[in-house]
């Protein structure tokens, strides 16, 4: 064992290794990505680790491995669970042989974007156990416990982390290089009663088994002692149920509450690590001991509702304070304030008004809309698209440009204002077809990144081809899954694929899908890209433009510079058009002329291509 600083995600990965995981498959998504990224970099012996094409595929790989008797882990952010759920419910019905853990990361407070989805709802819906740690140290333990629980119950087990835990870094004792996973026989079990859904009898029998496994899980969780109940000496006080990340604020809350006259010794606490199933024995003991209960859980009042049901069943009449009856919101994260205010509300204590409420000064801060990086290829694509729309004599408000997930969505922001909407991976294509089906006569353009296209764009493009929806699809192919931190995807250049992997070239794939009007452009070449777009948009049928140029963060890391650009001070009229049209962060206004920061510029030359005074000189390198 070694003491070192690890993040919640790394703790989860190291816990899985220690538990003997053999197969790890995930799809990137903040805040979950570092678990697989860490393992891919670590290359642990005997462990198969991969970024899969999407979460559904990743989950199926983990399930196949677990059916074959091996331990497996799949990782995703909450949005990914929506994608994977179709397979998950079937696998839940069948159960697993090797331990299988499904890591899902939720994001209360939305620090990473997308929805404040509470994935605990999926555990309820799928009748699967779910564990949730409060700290990186607990993550390390629970990651191992989740495998044991899965193995002992034959059920896949959810491990849920919120951003504050997944991205927290703390020093803990970890085994950095546990032995490779044990050599277990590969199970080959032919059993259609278990592994198919052929007929009502089979499905209902599996459903019965599923419920039995969940009940077993409650028992095993009790045996493993995963939840901690501390009853106050004296009965009749307040009981607190702290779920997941909220538990860690309790201790701090006790300090503050003691100062306010609430003795911590008067409080009973159930620290809930198994958010599902609810440990009914411990809950019954709390009911018997406490006159009222306070539920600390972020997002939806799921545990709160279950407690109300249990209270009704057991005839508990005490107040249950939370979101349905109490001060808490379903929106945002919990912290110390919620602990203190919750206890105060439950015991009838009034608090000083500004306690834990600071001075809100951020209203005066300058708005900082995010834009693409210096040299980002997406900049060229959006500049060209705006020009093409103008050249085709349309107003911007007449041309629907659907957006997709990733850095590509930054086309919605200034200075581009090109993209109209953002739904989910691959949705740009479906939504575009919907506008066409609705009868929109002006051009409809869909924009999507390469990773997103592989993830969920393929079926949607197939649909457009079959029904000959006259849309123009622009695939912004930067060669990486960029926004989530530069993961490899199926289209990433051969040189960056792992040994033994094969790259899929979109330039070959898309025409093979029946797309007859296929174009490829370099978004650093504004003129040709614009002309190609003008031509494509005006054509009938399905048109696809592959805008291909590597993400500039990645090319810059390898020291690539494309051109040398230089402002000719005497020519610059300080019209600032380069800044207002490109928004490139390398450009700023100097005293006599615009200034290019050489440390930031990668030489894409887009600024030079938009300068009306030809005041930015570009020079080819090499």
């Amino acid at each position: 064992m070694q003491r070192k600083i690890v993040s919640g995600n790394e703790a989860l990965a190291l816990g899985a290794l220690r538990a003997g995981v053999k197969v790890v498959a995930g799809y990137p998504g903040t805040p979950s990505s570092e678990a697989v990224a860490f393992l891919l970099a670590k290359k642990p012996e005997g462990v198969h680790v991969e970024w899969s094409a999407n979460e559904k595929v990743a989950l199926e790989i983990a399930a196949g491995a677990a059916w074959a008797g091996q331990r497996s882990l799949t990782t995703m952010k909450m949005s990914g669970l929506n994608v994977a759920y179709d397979s998950l419910i079937s696998i839940a019905y069948s159960g697993v042989n090797g331990g299988m853990v499904v890591y899902v990361a939720d994001d209360p407070g939305v620090s990473a974007g997308m929805a404040e989805q509470d994935s605990r709802g999926f555990a309820l819906m799928a009748d699967l156990p779910m564990l949730e740690p409060a700290t990186p140290a607990e993550t390390y333990r629970l990651s191992q416990a989740a495998f044991e629980l899965s193995q002992r119950t034959g059920s896949p087990v959810f491990l849920r982390l919120v951003t504050a835990v997944a991205h927290s870094h703390a020093a803990l004792e970890v085994e950095e290089d546990p032995p490779p996973p044990p050599e277990l026989p590969i199970l080959l079990e032919r059993d259609i009663q278990r592994y198919t859904k052929a007929g009502a009898a089979i499905c209902m029998a599996q459903h019965r088994d599923l419920i039995a496994r969940l009940e077993k899980a409650e028992e095993v969780i009790g045996e493993m002692g995963l939840n901690q109940l501390t009853l106050a000496q004296e009965a009749g006080g307040l009981g607190i149920i702290a779920c997941g990340a909220t538990a860690v604020y309790l201790e701090e809350g006790f300090e503050r509450l003691a100062k306010l006259g609430v003795s911590p010794e008067s409080l009973s606490v159930l620290r809930l690590s198994s958010v599902h199933p609810l440990p009914r024995q411990e809950v019954a003991r709390l009911f018997a001991h406490c006159s009222a209960l306070l539920v600390l859980e972020e997002l939806e009042p799921l545990v709160e509702r279950e407690l109300i049901v249990e209270a009704r069943r057991l005839g508990y009449a005490g107040r249950i304070v939370g979101k349905l009856d109490g001060p808490f919101s379903r929106i945002g994260e919990y912290g110390l304030r919620e602990v203190v205010e919750g206890v105060a509300a439950a015991v009838g204590l009034s608090l000083p008004k500004d306690l834990l409420r600071g001075l809100a000064a951020e209203g005066q801060a300058a708005a900082r809309p995010i834009t693409v990086c210096a040299g980002c290829p997406h900049r060229g694509t959006y500049l060209a698209l705006n020009r093409a729309i103008r050249l085709l004599k349309f107003k911007k408000d007449e041309v629907m440009v659907t957006g997709d997930i990733g850095c590509t969505i930054l086309g919605m922001n200034p200075p581009f204002h090109t993209v109209w909407n953002e739904v989910s991976m691959g949705a740009s294509l479906g939504i575009a077809q919907g506008y066409l089906a609705a009868g929109l006569k002006t051009p409809v353009i869909a924009t999507i990144g390469d990773s997103t296209f592989f993830h969920a764009g393929l079926p949607a493009l197939i649909n457009a081809v079959q029904h000959q929806a006259p849309l123009t699809l622009i695939i912004l192919d930067n060669g990486w899954t960029a926004m989530t931190g530069m993961q490899v995807n199926p289209g990433t250049a051969e040189a960056f694929q792992r040994e033994g992997w094969q790259r899929l070239d979109l330039a070959a794939l898309v025409p093979a899908m029946g797309v007859q009007q296929f174009f490829q452009v370099d978004p650093y070449d504004l003129k040709t890209t614009t002309e190609t777009m003008v031509q494509a948009i005006a054509l009938p049928g399905v048109k696809v433009i592959l805008a291909r140029r590597e993400c500039s963060i990645q090319s810059k890391r390898r020291g690539l510079r494309f051109r040398r650009v230089r402002v000719l001070e005497e020519k610059c009229t300080l019209c600032k058009l380069c800044i207002t049209t490109t928004g490139c962060p390398a450009l700023s206004i100097g005293e006599k002329a615009v200034v290019i920061d050489p440390a930031v510029c990668v030489g894409c030359s887009l600024c030079a291509q938009v300068c009306p005074a030809k005041a930015i000189e570009k020079e080819e390198i090499g």
């Binding site: 990340a245 201790e251 994260e333 801060a365 926004m483």
Partner: protein
């Protein structure tokens, strides 16, 4: 070494992607580990590489620490950019130290004079109303070419209670470990910071 009596100390860091805000927190976490002081470091980068808002929270001296520093509770705020500093005001505690590196990273709309940008006086007023002690540092306080985040780190260690919790020499060693090639330059930035009084 920590004798077990380390007072909890919460540091709230804000700035813009690319300023080394997260690095400050990482170095302090490493120093805390070496002194066996429990620490929880929680960086939030959003989209750091694109010059967006970055924040990080470092909670020192608590066995179990929630990742988020409660409002009105930070012993120290370090803001590496003026406007972003406003976002940290709600976290400063009464009597806490608020250090701002008065750098202006203007978004395009501000550059084009289409949007307002706060003055340093405004930030200072806000920090004072919140009960914090305001310390402003300026780019001209540091010779060009030296790392501002390392300088600010030095200032924080010398002017706030942080220097009583973490040993400056140890922090310096952690800086050196991280960038052995820039040891001399960083040692200089750190030294200037440590010696800095206003």
């Amino acid at each position: 070494m920590n004798d077990g009596t380390a007072q909890p100390f919460d540091i709230y860091l804000v700035g813009v992607g690319g300023q080394g805000v997260l690095t400050i927190g990482e170095i302090l976490s490493q120093a805390a580990l070496a002194q066996e002081i429990p620490a929880n470091f929680y960086p939030t980068k959003g989209m750091a590489q694109r010059g967006g808002f970055v924040k990080a929270q470092l909670r020192l001296g608590r066995e179990a620490a929630g990742a988020n520093i409660p409002e009105r509770s930070a012993d120290l705020v370090i803001a590496m950019e003026r406007s972003e500093g406003l976002k940290a005001v709600r976290f400063i505690k009464l009597g806490g130290d608020f250090i701002v590196w008065d750098h202006v990273w203007a978004p395009t709309a501000v550059m084009m004079e289409q949007a307002p940008y706060p003055t340093l006086e405004h930030l200072s007023e806000q920090v004072h109303s919140a009960g914090g002690r305001f310390h402003d540092l300026h780019p001209h306080d540091l010779p060009k070419g030296l790392s501002e985040n390392i300088f600010v780190l030095g200032v924080a260690l010398n002017n706030t209670a942080l220097g009583r919790l973490l040993q400056p020499d140890l922090v310096r060693a952690k800086v050196e470990e991280r960038w052995p090639e820039a040891a001399a330059k960083n040692a200089e930035a750190f030294r200037l910071g440590l010696g800095f009084y206003r």
